[in-house]
């Protein structure tokens, strides 16, 4: 039988996945959720500890004398400033300054880096490596990865790691051992909470999973699928490729593409770094001229929305999960943008959305209207443009 790939955790995850709602991710199968309702998994992220299989992330080891030069040329951040043991979140662009992909760059030693991405990037990296002394190896299948998120994650890791992770700062990494097995632990994640990502050889995946699940039992650990993570990442204001933006390499038409500025990634575009990088000229131009679009947060006015449902005799009917569907955003009767992911926030008790709005409507505080469907009829709920993230606990970076 032809099959999608299983991650090295499958032996465990497949037994735990009650709803059998497997989702595809880069050619792998991963659990959508482990329980029949998402509540507990969501709250494991926000109140305890969530163990998430993120193995399908694309992973590349880039090593050699010119490794830094290659990365500096490809991504928008200043790789020259990346210290050993540090991690950068970054996007990378085509020559028109439009986003191809986004991910993290970790500096593992003097001249070795790990790049993670959502899409395959080996060809793009190789094309940019012409003339450089560098070796690029894809290690996606060889390296298993767990995202370990939530306010209790540090406590649990300390119970099982040889070296305490207390000193591990936000977006730093360390080599460590769990149960005698070497792992890399980075203080990173996709939830906007306190959290870590644990990188290990695929063959070590099961013992690491077991040790963490056992150590976390008294601290509310739960295996968590990508559906609950999706809700958390919207609250954290984090976007997803092919949902919230289209990769420039997949876009059919120009308007589908986005620049890092349009996605709110201004802070990752190091125009002050020396030399050329892909997209530089276009990005310099956009910086000067201003962006036509911007990704912002939308908060729907619940009381007004409730009224729209009440008029139809219904209580509000919002799916209890993140919805990846495009919803028009209007000012007056004119569409001025769209929401790309919307979600109920169980913590904030709000209906929130990541939206792409045209100038000048993307200013914080602008009143807009979001399309909703009430009993098969199109309605528009008042909403307000707010700053991202929607939620950031004080312990995220502490």
């Amino acid at each position: 039988m032809l099959q999608l790939r299983h991650t090295p955790f499958h032996e465990r995850t497949s037994k735990l996945c009650q709803p059998q709602n497997w989702r595809r991710w880069a050619g792998y199968l991963v659990a959508g959720s482990y329980e029949l309702t998402l509540d507990r998994e969501y709250w494991a992220i926000r109140n305890a500890a969530a163990l998430i299989d993120v193995t399908p992330l694309m992973k590349y080891i880039i090593t050699g004398k010119d490794a830094a030069r290659l990365l500096d040329r490809v991504v928008t951040r200043d790789i020259g400033k990346l210290k050993i043991g540090q991690v950068y979140y970054t996007g990378w662009c085509d020559d028109e300054g439009k986003m191809i992909d986004d991910g993290t760059v970790s500096r593992l030693d003097e001249s070795t880096y790990r790049l993670t991405s959502a899409d395959p990037n080996l060809r793009w990296l190789s094309m940019n490596a012409v003339g450089l002394e560098v070796r690029i190896t894809e290690v996606t299948d060889n390296v298993a990865a767990l995202s370990f998120q939530g306010p209790n994650s540090r406590l649990i890791l300390n119970r099982v790691a040889d070296n305490p992770v207390d000193g591990l700062k936000y977006f730093r990494l360390m080599q460590n051992k769990v149960d005698g097995i070497p792992v890399t632990i980075s203080r990173t994640g996709y939830t906007g909470d306190l959290g870590f990502e644990i990188w290990m050889e695929a063959k070590d995946a099961l013992p690491i999973w077991d040790v963490l699940m056992e150590a976390g039992a008294d601290y509310g650990i739960a295996p968590v699928g990508i559906l609950a993570m999706d809700m958390a990442r919207v609250e954290a204001g984090l976007f997803m490729i092919e949902v919230d933006y289209t990769s420039a390499s997949h876009a059919w038409i120009e308007p589908q593409k986005s620049s890092p500025f349009e996605l709110g990634l201004d802070w990752t575009v190091a125009l002050d770094k020396p030399g050329y990088f892909v997209g530089r000229r276009a990005l310099e131009h956009e910086k000067k001229e201003g962006s036509a679009w911007k990704m912002v947060g939308l908060e729907v006015d619940w009381v007004e929305m409730e009224k729209l449902y009440a008029e139809a005799g219904l209580p509000p009917q919002i799916p209890g999960m993140a919805v990846r569907a495009s919803l028009p955003v209007l000012v007056g009767n004119v569409q001025i943008g769209y929401a790309s992911t919307s979600s109920w926030s169980p913590l904030l008790k709000k209906y929130i959305a990541l939206a792409h709005l045209q100038k000048p409507y993307y200013e914080i505080g602008t009143d807009v209207r979001l399309e909703i469907t009430v009993e098969h009829h199109r309605q528009h709920a008042p909403a307000r443009v707010v700053k991202l993230p929607f939620y950031e606990p004080e312990w995220k970076k502490k």
Partner: protein, 530 residues
């Protein structure tokens, strides 16, 4: 400008008092909350009675807390998290069990195991109750209309509240009228045949009342609890992080951030009245504090009969308050455990311990428990609603150990001969031995416990009579009858004096609605302009 002059004083730092303070401060008013205890929260507190073990001392679950309050006061920013409580399980006397899950299909299949007919009825019952709850829900956020324009004896007049009649089908309307007069037991008998199902459901009809499941009027209370709404959808109950004290702390933190001042260890002795107007309060310690508006979130007995001299209030109001039913009937046992109780009837399913467990095998069982209380004794075999907070929020107990919260009914406030230490001990023992029948390991797992009688509720939380809702949720004590006819709009005959606690519309439970609505009325009156 002296520091003892405010726009508004709030007597009592329970969750309603804190909500009222936050809303007034949010409107730019200078407010002070005066709480008699050393901590805020009233009946929503968490205390480490045994070091390391956090007891959600009185209230333990939350569902009615108004989402608009959570949003308006930005409570999540101040630490509020309402965690899911996904199931309720009832161990049965025959060694089986009945579980209800947050998943419809799971629950249906489970009920089917006991009765295919009940499994089907369950769906319809849930729909009918949800429709009625939805129709009634707007009332929670509105102020009862002037009853003089209605005919209070006319039940349909009551149903017109919030355009109910307009929104509901005739069939539902009759259903609702019936619901308001029927007993929970009779109503459930019409729907179901499984005893454990009926017993467990009927329990929500009697919580906080001095009535049994066969007493008329309890069906409505069932609905009141059904209204429990989480996340704006009609959902069951949740557990707030840190116990219900976490709710009080979040509201207090928000109120402070908005500029409200909160003083603990400040017992109000009397409301100061000048020229027929409340102008401030005198504290037990002799201090006097002045304000244009005084809001009391203490219970109606304290508010009207203790804090104000009777000469300032009309006789009919005093008589109404004197007959306001505040008979406490519930107690609590909070337990620190070295291990979870193992219910012999339950399958080995840890998920069940993240929900509630209920000793309510049948309606008759609960009615018998009520019989004991009717004659001045605590129930020999009580109804017990248990949760295991450490399974939901691991921070509640040291790793590897647990806390358990047991809500118990019935324990009458007016117990024969009065409550004393021996009776409290005996009451606690009865609760433990009742649980022991279903979970034999409980006794050896106990590290320590706290037993709370209705008298303790009165002494600790300051609620007269120990009634958990500041007065029973009976039809004749709700809507425009709460706390007394003509005075359901948070105002009192004493100008500048307001009721802002659970004794006001729409009633008790962790809801925040009385506090919010009272604050809005105070703002409307604009006392400080005068």
């Amino acid at each position: 400008m002296t520091s003892n002059q405010y726009d508004a004083i709030i007597i009592g730092g329970g969750h309603n008092g804190l909500v009222a303070a936050a809303y007034l401060a949010r409107a730019g008013r200078k407010v002070v909350v005066l709480e008699r205890r050393h901590i805020v929260g009233g009946a929503t507190i968490t205390e480490e009675i045994i070091p390391g073990f956090k007891f959600t001392e009185f209230s333990y679950v939350v569902s009615l807390l108004r989402p608009e309050i959570i949003r308006d006061l930005e409570l999540p920013k101040h630490g509020l998290k309402i965690l899911p409580l996904p199931s309720t399980v009832t161990p049965m006397e025959n060694g089986d069990y009945l579980a209800a899950w947050d998943d419809h299909d799971l629950t249906r299949r489970e009920i089917y195991r006991h009765s295919p007919k009940d499994a089907e009825a369950y769906d319809e019952y849930a729909r009918v109750m949800a429709r009625m709850a939805k129709a009634i829900k707007p009332i929670l956020s509105i102020i009862p209309p002037d009853p003089s324009s209605l005919h209070p004896k006319d039940l349909f007049g009551l149903l017109k509240l919030g355009k109910l009649a307009y929104e509901m089908s005739e069939k539902d309307l009759y259903g609702l009228a019936k619901l308001m007069t029927q007993s929970a037991g009779d109503m459930l008998d019409e729907w179901f045949e499984t005893d454990a199902l009926k017993g467990t459901k009927s329990a929500s009809g009697i919580i906080g009342t001095f009535l049994g499941p066969r007493s008329p009027g309890t069906a409505y209370v069932l609905l009141h609890h059904y209204m429990g709404e989480i996340d704006g959808a009609f959902r069951a109950w949740g557990f707030s992080k840190g116990g219900t004290g976490g709710i009080a702390e979040a509201i207090a933190s928000s109120a402070r951030a908005l500029g409200a001042e909160i003083r603990v260890n400040s017992t109000v002795k009397q409301v100061i009245v000048k020229n027929g107007r409340a102008v401030g309060v005198a504290l037990e310690n002799g201090d006097e504090i002045y304000a244009k508006a005084v809001l009391s979130s203490a219970d109606p007995i304290v508010t009207f009969l203790k804090l104000v001299e009777s000469k300032h209030l009309p006789d009919d109001l005093i008589r109404s308050i004197q007959s306001f039913r505040t008979r406490g009937s519930s107690g609590k046992v909070n337990i620190a455990l070295s291990e979870l109780p193992q219910f012999t009837a339950l399958p080995d399913e840890p998920a069940l311990y993240r929900g509630a467990a209920s000793i309510s095998p049948s309606i008759d069982y609960i009615e018998r428990a009520y019989d004991d209380a009717k004659y001045g004794r605590f129930a020999k075999e009580p109804y017990i609603d248990m949760i295991f907070p450490s399974m939901i929020d691991p921070d509640m107990a040291p790793p590897g150990t647990h806390v358990m919260s047991c809500f118990v009914q019935y324990a009458p406030y007016d117990i024969e001969g009065g409550w004393d230490d021996a009776k409290r001990e005996a009451f606690g023992e009865t609760v433990i031995s009742t649980i022991e029948k279903y979970a034999p390991n409980i006794r050896r797992a106990i590290i320590g416990k706290q037993v709370i009688t209705p008298k303790d509720i009165e002494n600790i939380a300051g609620i007269t009579g120990g009634n958990i809702f500041h007065g029973e949720l009976l039809l004749h004590q709700l809507f425009f009858f709460r706390p007394a006819p003509q005075w359901s709009n948070f105002r009192t005959p004493l100008r500048g004096y307001y009721l802002a606690g659970s004794g006001a519309h729409p009633g008790g439970g962790i809801m925040g609605a009385p506090g919010m609505l009272a604050a809005k009325e105070v703002l409307k009156d604009g006392m400080w302009k005068a």
